[in-house]
């Protein structure tokens, strides 16, 4: 992480995209965006554009991967070749394989997998445009796609990163802050269980800075969580209105 040529935070505490230190980027979410998938959702967070689709519970292929006591959650996080500045090879990279694993493990604690033994639930996250913080936005949108698929869950999972930029702890890093900043702390949280289900960190932070960053990320999570819930409820308001109109 080299020293940036231009400051990422100006003397008034304003960031390159005009945000304050503890401000989220604009978040837009919608659910039920794909007709073939059992559940789907789409998120825009800053310039991130990410699509998630869920298929299942369905029969496991190949069969030997089926678990006798629960459904197996399979997760693929993938970036489109055109989602970043330099074309990314479409083959899964080591980074994508690691992120697929940590995202899966961020979602598993909330899903009642034991209700669907021997099946698989397949979750696909496609990053169409990346702008820093794609794993977090990926978790947020994936948990909505799972809910949209009607899979029983203890709660939604929501994720947000915090980090250190120009010596200050900031919320929801964008691409340049992620690349040139001093630290990045992605966190996934599930409010009902008061549980952190994804936690990673790279960079350099004192214990005190880490504690501040963790609290800030959790605060960001809680703000996105209310958006998530509104989006999901809004879909069923529409469904209810349609049903009522039909009944008349």
């Amino acid at each position: 992480m080299s020293q940036p040529t231009k400051p990422l935070i100006n003397e008034n505490g304003v960031r390159t995209d005009g945000r304050k230190l503890d401000e989220l980027r604009p978040v837009k979410i919608s659910v039920g965006v794909l007709s073939n998938a059992d559940g789907s959702a789409y998120i825009e967070q800053g310039k991130n554009k990410i699509l998630a689709a869920v298929y299942g519970p369905r029969e496991s292929h190949p069969r030997h991967l089926a678990l006798p006591d629960r459904a197996s959650l399979r997760c693929r996080y993938h970036m489109a070749p055109f989602s970043v500045q330099e074309r990314k090879s479409p083959a899964p990279s080591r980074r994508e394989m690691e992120l697929s694993k940590v995202i899966r493990e961020a979602l598993e604690p909330v899903i009642f997998l034991d209700q669907y033994p021997r099946t698989s639930i397949d979750l696909f996250i496609e990053v169409l445009q990346a702008d820093g913080g794609t794993r977090c936005a990926g978790v947020t949108v994936a948990s909505l796609a799972l809910a949209d698929a009607g899979i029983p869950m203890r709660d939604l999972v929501v994720a947000c990163a915090s980090g250190k930029v120009d010596g200050q702890i900031v919320l929801d890093l964008n691409d340049i802050e992620d690349k040139e900043g001093e630290a990045d702390v992605p966190v996934a949280f599930t409010p009902n269980l008061n549980a952190i289900t994804l936690l990673q960190m790279d960079g350099l932070l004192t214990i005190e800075e880490f504690e501040t960053a963790l609290k800030l990320a959790l605060d960001g999570c809680k703000r996105i969580y209310s958006l998530q819930k509104e989006t999901l409820k809004a879909k069923y308001v529409v469904v209810k209105e349609e049903a009522e109109a039909e009944a008349q």
Partner: protein
Amino acid sequence: MASTIISRIKQRQIAQLIAAGKRLDGRGLTDYREIKIESGIVERAEGSALVYIGKTEVLAGVKIETGEPFLDRPNEGALTVNSEFVPVASPEFEAGPPGEESIELARIVDRGIRESKAIELEKLCIVPGKKVFVVFIDVYVLNHDGNLIDTAGLAALASILNTKMSNYEVVEDEVKVLPGFTQLPVVNYPIPVTFAKINGQLVADPGLDEEEVMDSRLTVTFEKNGKVCAMQKSGRSFFTEEQVLEVVKIGQQKAEEIRRTVV
């Protein structure tokens, strides 16, 4: 976690012992198993180290070659960490391309070394933008008895501390090898510390049987000044905020103790 089958009795026993503040092998909850380090055991490699934590055994080897720098780091040498779960190490390991566990492990070790700036990569530039030294750290798991991450992190660190490069001069953008050797410039010492959560309790340095019954694990890597430089939660369960902060606090002391055995 893919797991060998252990009896439910043992599973219950581990959980009950931990609830009483004890462990199957007599350790305290935050105790590590014995750590042993043997450096320089592979002469063909530029650096190497075999590290034991208890019966877990990991060999790391360093090879240095010339190559191209990363586009965004034209004046720095490159670092690559790879890990192999070779089938000699466990009945669970199979030959073939690396699985996600192995990729995750390599990336955690990589982050620790990279983010702490353990190797002075600026000193490994040969021709800016064109040619640099590439440091390959290959982590070979030889025997799996739990806590591969910490063992691999220590092995990687011990191996770079043990690495010698041939002296060279640059003649018309080519490297000409000169007699003698120089130590690879290593200036920081990242130490990963892993805690498992079993029945809501935190235990350091989980053994294999503890990993079989753990809910989740959290690895925190500390650099020489006690700052956190990498972190990774994995496993199918979660941590509370308080548990995370507890791991960070105890982990910092543990890392300091362990660092004294390596450096």
